[in-house]
Amino acid sequence: MLTVLIYGAVTSAVLAMLAVGFTLIFGVARILNLSHGAFYALGAYCAYSFTTLLKLPLIVSAVLAVALVAVFGMAMERVLVRPLRQSSLAVLMITLTVALTVEQVLFVVFGSQSKNVPAFVNFPINVHGVSVDGQRLLALAIAVVLIGALWLFIQRTRLGSAILAVSQDPEAAQYMGIPANRIFTIVMGLSAALAGAAGVIAGPFLSVRPTMDQTAMITAFSVVIVGGLGSIPGSILAACIIGYSQTFVAFYLNPEWTGTVSLVAILLTLVLRPSGLMGRVVNA
């Protein structure tokens, strides 16, 4: 039982990292980023390349991987998404295309075999008599720290206030001298960095393969829908619910069925409480 609790917490934490970034860029810029899963896959593959192929030290590779994914996200926002922001269909199309392209590139470069990302912590840690893979606990800790840091950043800094202002009314914020476009790029960078970091820390206990982005993306939006689009606390709460449901399904039924948890969660939420647990109603 304790095992399930701990594994569930780890799954939830990784999901929360993905979902918070996804909901952040939607909440601030109304960009529904279908390439969010690709950021996650890129993070894991960057970590793999830097550590295994370039033999860089772990910490350096991790930081480099996250930075690279952030730059990729910002470049994508600037070059591909911004000219198309008027049309929501075009944004969905272009981000989905980026996701498929990344998947193809990873497939061509690394092949379809799953890769191993080295773990930061290689030894099991004993928690109340249950021995847990150290990397999972580290992932949990890093997720909590990063999301906490993001929260403080948004609530306590000038730039954070600017982000909040833009999320409430981009036009009004623009009149107050906040460069809304630059904020969008920064938020996309943050969102991508978070997804990339999730890929880096979860990589060691996942199978890192080119198609990993799709499942990640779908789970991320089920979390975001359950939590309420645009709400960060909602995403965290929903990440716990879905993370634990998936862990229960994987432990007591069959790991293959974890994907369907997301679909059931999406459909149930939309029928019972469309705005999600903590969301406001969106009119996009």
Binding site: L89, M93, L100, E256, P274
Partner: protein, 306 residues
């Protein structure tokens, strides 16, 4: 329908009907069959998403639903392949209602997310339930609907024409006007006393029905189904076809499907990399030709209005 439109449609149909027997090549006939099926998919996508502006990112859900219905009835239970058509349509409509009912009542991006997720998860389910679906290998050994490939081609072409005609007629009727009004201003429609949700869900069901029909034809053409019939790449290629054809025109979307497929065929030499052609085309259309390619080109050729 203006005189010039009639002439244009006539020439296009003559080309589509005449080329395969003239080329007299089994392989090329197959290419034309796939073109026509893609035309059905693109037209049915455009009917719902092009007219109502609600982005369906999981058209493959309906395509795969139809295809797997055909595979179960014909491949697993050995029923006559003609039963596949009503069954495939029924399954696709049920999927349409299941996804449409919870999501289309709402505004916001829920519908796009839910369709994308449902198709992807159905793909997983098709792989997981390998005892019944053959897993990632799929189901093999379906019968052909019509043995002669040229005969089957004319059957598919007739269905494509019927699809475009039926969907265009609906689009020109009061129903179609309401769908376009929903795209324009949903709240105003509601204020005018129109049951917006009903029209959206019913239109999605119609769109799904034709997609499912296309799925059945595809399954019997390939004589096999695989989980790839639910793939997100299929959904997005259908959208690209409609984009290239011109969103909201239906006939344009069908032409887009045919055109893209022929282009892809010409680039067969590129092997795996030809999928990239789709992405390049998408970029060009998104950034430089918002209105699409086929429909605006025809408007220019034809000259005049309407």
């Amino acid at each position: 329908m203006g005189k010039r439109n009639m002439v244009g449609a006539g020439v296009l149909l003559a080309l589509l009907a005449g080329l395969p027997p003239l080329l007299h090549n089994h392989y090329l006939t197959g290419v034309f069959i796939v073109c026509a099926i893609d035309g059905i998919w693109a037209a049915s996508w455009d009917f719902f998403s092009g007219l109502t502006g609600r982005e369906n990112f999981g058209h493959a859900l309906f395509i795969g639903g139809g295809a797997y219905a055909a595979a179960f009835l014909n491949g697993n239970f050995g029923l006559s392949p003609w039963f596949s058509i009503p069954a495939g349509i029924a399954v696709a409509v049920v999927f349409g209602l299941l996804v449409g009912f919870p999501t289309l009542r709402l505004k916001g991006p829920y519908f796009a997310l839910a369709t994308l997720a449902s198709a992807a998860i159905m793909q997983q389910v098709a792989i997981n339930l390998w005892q019944y679906t053959g897993g990632s290998e799929g189901i093999y050994g379906l019968d052909t609907l019509i043995d002669s490939s040229l005969g089957f081609y004319y059957f598919v072409l007739a269905i494509l024409v019927a699809t475009v005609v039926v969907l265009s007629l609906i689009a020109r009727s009061r129903w179609g006007t309401i769908m376009r009004a929903i795209k324009g201003d949903e709240t105003a429609c509601q204020a005018a006393g129109i049951n917006v949700t009903f029209y959206k869900i019913a239109s999605l069901a119609v769109s799904a029905a034709f997609a499912g029909l296309g799925g059945v034809l595809f399954a019997h053409y390939q004589q096999a189904v695989t989980p790839d019939d639910f793939d997100v790449f299929l959904s997005i290629s259908v959208i690209i076809m409609a984009y290239v054809g011109g969103i909201g025109t239906i006939w344009g979307a069908a032409c887009g499907g045919i055109l893209l497929n022929l282009m892809l065929e010409l680039m067969r030499g590129l092997g795996e990399y030809r999928l990239w052609v789709y992405y390049v085309i998408l970029m060009v259309v998104l950034f430089f030709m918002r209105e699409g390619f086929v429909a605006p080109l025809w408007r220019r050729l034809r000259g005049g209005n309407a």
